[in-house]
Point group: C2
Chain length 279, copies 2
């Protein structure tokens, strides 16, 4: 249990968003005793457990919110324990990979509702849990053809109680769009900060940085393991997005190299217009 699960629990426990609201029992599965005590102290959960299978055996809905490469192991642990009515959802950033993992463990995915809350940030850990984290944020669900409508609706209901707006789309489509809108920007921020940190004038570079730079590089403070796993799990879509960016970056580099004022201006105006229109 970390930021993502803790914040959903916090939102459900506050029980402010809906009528009839949430009156269920919440068990937080943790690896470390201190995280569990923290979750209890913060009033996020009714109970903690360090045994995923035992917790799963008693659950109606299970939310898996672990780094992408830990999903399969967690699914393997809970698979023998769940019954035919247990709903399984997740908060992973790459839906194709989660579906592959679920397929490797379950004979049918009729109770599996892959999900992805577009929220979070550079802070992590259960101590950062925030009942407002999902308010007005999108949660993208990518149910399969075999997923039962009632299971998807139960997961939608949970997120709506936390104030989120749910949307459904295909898993492959999700992974392609997120590669552009989230995974590529993170790659750029990580690569930029890494570039600057290894330059001779690193100290000064960070000292003279203005507000825009800090906004720009905030996402480079995100968790390394989480992002390693995303890059490993969404490899093809990410490479496509990186290559598309590379071509545009090279076009701009060439314009600068050649002093092509018109071309630069076109790129900058197009970008400004798109940013102002959409964001």
């Amino acid at each position: 249990m970390g930021l993502i699960g803790g914040s959903l629990a916090a939102a459900l426990r506050r029980n402010t968003s809906g009528d009839p609201g949430f009156d269920g029992h919440i068990t937080g599965v943790v690896r470390s005793k201190s995280t569990g005590e923290r979750a209890l102290d913060m009033g996020l959960v009714d109970q903690i457990s360090d045994d995923p299978a035992a917790a799963a055996a008693k659950a109606d809905i299970i939310l898996l919110a672990v780094p992408m490469l830990s999903m399969r192991a967690q699914l393997s642990l809970i698979a023998p324990a769940v019954n035919s009515k247990t709903i399984i959802t997740d908060a992973g950033s790459v839906k194709g990979r989660f579906i592959d993992d679920a397929r490797s463990v379950f004979p049918r995915l009729n109770r599996v509702v892959p999900g992805h809350p577009i929220a979070g940030g550079e802070h992590s850990g259960v101590q950062a849990s925030n009942p407002e984290l999902y308010v007005n944020r999108r949660v993208l669900l990518t149910p399969l053809e075999e997923t039962e409508e009632e299971a998807t609706e139960a997961v939608e209901h949970l997120w709506k109680l936390a104030g989120a707006v749910t949307e459904r789309l295909g898993a492959e489509h999700h992974d392609r769009v997120l590669a552009s809108t989230s995974h590529l920007p993170h790659a750029l921020a990580f690569a930029l900060v890494d570039t600057l940190a290894t330059q001779q004038e690193a100290e000064e570079i960070f000292r003279y940085a203005a507000g825009g730079f800090k906004d720009f590089t905030r996402i480079a403070s995100s968790d390394a393991i989480m992002w390693r796993d995303i890059c490993l799990s969404n490899r093809d879509a990410m490479l496509d997005a990186m290559d598309a960016f590379g071509a545009h970056f090279e076009q701009l580099r060439k314009a600068i190299d050649q002093g092509d004022a018109r071309q630069m201006e076109d790129i900058f105006r197009r970008a400004k217009q798109a940013r102002d229109e959409h964001a």
Copy 2:
């Protein structure tokens, strides 16, 4: 007169930051009547003028705050009007270029104090003027060997009255550091937004963007002409910075392509550490 000059005027007119404070006369030089009226209405200036030479003839200190490629024309207009005591400073992002421009116009630069306030943002125009814009912000000055100490101190005093922290460094050094810390991030943000805007799923991409993305691309809303001029004026340092970034980006791309988890993790950890330490 735009955001940069307007905000300095606003700060000086508020006269809150210093003792003895500022009791000088401020003339705003404008091209359009409406901008001038705006500056007067906002109480930023004592007077407006559409004649740079006439305004310069009466000034003790002149601040040039125009896009880099407009500097030379403005310097040419005021050069015949100034006297041997007039101090000339600027707010341009590329100091080498401003110095070249000043050299082409003045026989000696003893009264020229090149400067660069590290402030601003995606908003521009005199209407965005803000007396707080420079509070605790750095203003980098790159006086030349021939610049008289008293002239540099007069410019430092002005910025300090606006709440800024001034620092002195060499012009070439300034341009190299700023290429990394400001010009490169802007190039990345412009290229990223341009990449996404031209993709098939552009609508969705912007719709599913999370907060991190919006922070990341905010600087792509900056003024196109200002940034075209910066790219043209700081070409060599910018190409160096872009190539350094390109090498790190390619290293990350290769790690993703090859599924090299260790390499990814190293890059992400290094970046996170540098970001957390410095920013």
